[in-house]
Amino acid sequence: MADQKKLAIIATKGTLDFAYPPLILGTTAAALDYEVTIFWTFYGLQVLKKERDLKISPLGNPAMPMPIPMPVLVQILPGMEAMATVMMKQKMAGKGVASIDTLMEMALEADVKMIACQMTVDLFDFKHSELIDGVEYAGAARFFEIAQDADITLFI
């Protein structure tokens, strides 16, 4: 389609909470007939992993709603991050929020194009085999080629 709208997203973050915006917006835009490209860089690459193990931490995030008030010195205790992650995943499942695995599947099914930043793949010593299949490896110049033609560009 020549007049198809296009969305380009840069996704830079790899915590469980920040994995959501690029995938929610990407899948929704695809459902609205946009051609969608997500350029994953830095910690965002964690979301592209085949075996993803995304976590959320209350530490350094005073805006995170907690069931009980939790002093920072408690938040740094071993196991707190794992506990917060389990609690968040349970809460999400209970509220009918899709998992990241599901959203990624739906994004790929909807032909959302995934590009991994080759520079950060090198930086973190990730192997291409660790990332999901069908990913393109490229750099900043490739992003601009896509972004110059996009109707909407987001940095997340």
Binding site: A31, V97, A98
Partner: protein
């Protein structure tokens, strides 16, 4: 009458929209998809979905927390 029905109850954004898009793919032009949802955000979202995709929202109602929509597939 609807040609197909989608139960999106209990699902949260963006799943009702994504499931509806998928369900519409399986329909022919002019056929109607009925959707039931419980996400209050779906009211505005289905309106926006139809405005942007050209499908026609022919019915939207709410009854004790269950939202009901009928979408006619565009030509």
């Amino acid at each position: 009458m609807a040609d197909s029905t989608l139960d999106a109850k209990g699902l949260n954004c963006p799943l009702p929209i994504l499931r509806a898009k998928k369900a519409l793919k399986g329909l022919a032009t002019g056929q109607v998809l009925a959707i039931e949802a419980t996400d209050p955000g779906s009211a505005k979202d289905f309106e926006s979905f139809c405005v942007q995709t050209g499908n026609e929202l022919i019915k939207a109602s709410e009854n004790s927390g269950v939202y009901y929509y009928e979408i006619k597939k565009k030509g």
